[in-house]
Symmetry: C2
Subunit: 202 residues, 2 copies
Amino acid sequence: MRRSKEVTAETRKTIVATASRLFREKGFDGIGIADIMATAGLTHGGFYRHFASKEALIAEAMTEAFEDHTKQLKSEDDGDIESVRSYVSRYLSAAHVTKVSQGCPIAAVGSECQHLGPVATGVFFKGIESLLKPLTNVLRHSSKDGRKAALRLLSSLVGAVVLARASNNTKLQAEILDAVRDIEDVANVLRRTRGSRAKPKG
Amino acid sequence: MRRSKEVTAETRKTIVATASRLFREKGFDGIGIADIMATAGLTHGGFYRHFASKEALIAEAMTEAFEDHTKQLKSEDDGDIESVRSYVSRYLSAAHVTKVSQGCPIAAVGSECQHLGPVATGVFFKGIESLLKPLTNVLRHSSKDGRKAALRLLSSLVGAVVLARASNNTKLQAEILDAVRDIEDVANVLRRTRGSRAKPKG
DNA sequence: TGTACATCAGTGAACGCGCGTTCACTGATGTAC
DNA sequence: TGTACATCAGTGAACGCGCGTTCACTGATGTAC
């Protein structure tokens, strides 16, 4: 039967949050509407009261995934290198490699998003920029080109986790994470302690 | 009707080669047996004379993809840094970002291979090690830990291309490739010219 | 404020298509003698 | 070497299941008066 506006809005949020996790964990083709709705405690028939299509849900779910993920970077006070340090440290953790459903959306479904339509693709572009922005803000203190440093850092992080997950071997996973912590841009960030400012480069 | 052993073997190779390209381009769930067979100039019914299942084809196709890709690294004389330099240069090219079907299998389907069975997953582990081996061989001349340097390099490369493809924006793609060429490990390789030896690190 | 009616969130059955897989069939290949 | 028969690569139809999507229905919510 009909639900109040508040309940309806809550239901919608639940669907998006559930999809956000399941899409990352199983891939866009690896999970169906019925399963997502069931996990959210609903039946599949009601899905189209909330979303126009599966692709529309993908776009919203990935938007939320990026928001949640970027939040990890902004929650601490802005421009503080400590927020980046703890972000990088968590990104390169064994837990992040294991818990795909709560991790970085790029590492989780990055290679699948090429097969999506233009709306969902745009979400990834915006999501990447939203990650780069706070990274750039912080790294501009320690690098002459903060944006470039942010791009370098993000590439190393994404590559490490994609490789670690693809390798599917605990020993190699640990080796990869370990090695990437030594990349100059990464190490530069990880070396900083709370409240410290990076020295200008060069 | 029945075909000669030679023709049969040739057909099988064609199927694997076609699948190797199409899986990278469209993803494992984005292309079907019938489409692969049709692209190979066959009808789908004959597929199971060659392979036990789609997953079996995935395993073989990815094995071939890794072999082809690794070949780029070994073709020049072994242990020569120039082979690594040209490999890295091509890896970080706009062409590689565009031509997914002929590119690195990790960057192409890396985030999808988590959803495969153990056989296909093993192919990725072996494939990664097969890439690391020649990289390590070369980098051990310029780094105190060649394997670690190889892991760092590969992570940066994979991350750059995954990010560039996910961004789906020509300008950002170029920015990413540009930035990653500046990562110390990458730049170290790219700086070398033909026949030169890297100086030991530290 | 109360009443009558329209709206619509959620249910569960059903539709239709695509895809992995199977099968009967064909006729050339391969083999046993 | 030649002949008879078994094998099997490839074809095209068909099966069956899953999944995205639609729909009739229910009954509480929201709204018009």
